[in-house]
Symmetry: C2
Subunit: 322 residues, 2 copies
Amino acid sequence: MMVELRRDPVVERWITIPRERAIDIDSLFSIEEASPNDPCPFCRDQNDEKEIDSIRDAQGHWVTRVFADLRPILRVEGTLSRGAKGIYDRMNGIGAHEIVIETPEHALSWATMDSRQLSLVLRTYRQRSLDLRRDQRLRALFIVKNHGGMASHFQHPHSHIVALPIVPLSLIEEIEGGEKHYAYKERCVWCDIREQEMNDPERTVYLDDRYLVVAPFASRFPFELLVLPLQHHADFASAGNDDLDMLGRCLRSTCEMIQRRLRDASLSIVFHSAPFQNPPEHSFHWHIEIRPAISKLAGFEWGTGFYTNPIPPEIAAAHLRG
Amino acid sequence: MMVELRRDPVVERWITIPRERAIDIDSLFSIEEASPNDPCPFCRDQNDEKEIDSIRDAQGHWVTRVFADLRPILRVEGTLSRGAKGIYDRMNGIGAHEIVIETPEHALSWATMDSRQLSLVLRTYRQRSLDLRRDQRLRALFIVKNHGGMASHFQHPHSHIVALPIVPLSLIEEIEGGEKHYAYKERCVWCDIREQEMNDPERTVYLDDRYLVVAPFASRFPFELLVLPLQHHADFASAGNDDLDMLGRCLRSTCEMIQRRLRDASLSIVFHSAPFQNPPEHSFHWHIEIRPAISKLAGFEWGTGFYTNPIPPEIAAAHLRG
């Protein structure tokens, strides 16, 4: 399906819309769910020719591999063309949408996967980020990991990598917030958060030499978590192998805590890293947001941007620490 | 339950958090649903002493009435105190959270209610907006109407009015977007949208002398709708009785279309009006957003702010017009 990108004329928000006009509206009303009897698309032998990237063991067997998504949000093929339609801005749907198959083993999760394997998944992300940024049309990359029935159709451990020709609004907001703080204080706001949280560990759920995991002071959702590298870097892909080994351990412990203390809640994990072009090196600090899918967003939060979180992060952290 | 407001240190987003520490975390995992056998709290005789406001007929019977919400997000009582905790900003949860009971009749909706009754509901909103702004602590007001099982626990027609001591992020974004456009073009961006859509009615679903309803060019959600007054006003409460009569008809028709063409989908309706203090008179244009609850937000939209809408607004509009 071909899509186009459209920009909201009021706020800097880009969305994708199909270009086709023949759309089955009825299908929207039926919920599509993978049946447990369906063969897993990530277990089956993939067509090796279509493999974009992989990490292989000494015997040449893949341990992580990357394919283009079968139903991509955006496609790499074509020339990026920007245009206007009256007051509106649009461009064609150029970008990349890749699927990382995180392990050959179907039934694992980040809570049960060996942290060494998780480190290889993180290296795969880094490889893709370094490769995709060579495409001058692309501006920003998101890594999104969904786990559990409320967040993902498929059980087999996998994640999405989406490279966009625009910078999405939520990243623009963070960049502008970081720049404002930096302009005023000449300090990174996330470095300030790190200091504050390390002085007052009430919201901390995990800490090692390189990473801190906290329930953020102004958490939007119950048990929302922020994974913050202690060292300032704007770009996730600047992490070395040692960093990724430690990050694998950190994420494994954090997901284990969620599994144990939150009844294996479904969750979404999103990596926030600086855009590729003119990255704000000093004022942006890469980080990971984790949102367990526990209570549903009510109508009020949507449309007002005003979140009412029933669980104070101090309580969330204490509950997760156990 | 007492709450406090907390500000995200990176973006200007305020959220509420309970002040109590004794919280039943298990209750989060059970979905609370009103049983059809429960007595309707909005049909039962309310304690008249607790009535905040009402519109009454010639016989003195109420036709709309307003109460404080039994589980308010924010409370009016107390003094607004702002404070810092290290790098973080907080204030106590001062504000108003009111419930409008829209009619004595339990089984109506905006698709079946007489448009004259709907106009009285809109006048009630205006009364509350004019009254609440006299409280100097309050900055912005949202009116939120939820309909249907996916959006609301209760069937009896009701809506929420929430007045906040802060301006929520989604409104700040719209104000800043409007100001940017105005600074550059000396025109209101919503007036420009009105012109554009009236020249090219492909996305229009309703038009009369005073209101236009369109599926927005960059719709985030399938069948998202924007209700735009043709005349420029920053403040919803500036609407006269004639305006509200017409708006009642407009909203009745629009909700009827959604009921008929979208299988009576659940929906959320949010009124966006200028903040009370220093309202941006020229660059902000009040409007209403309608979001039918059809497809669920997936993990990717959350956390990236990048929406992939499967239904082009041109198709959405054609389908609604029938």
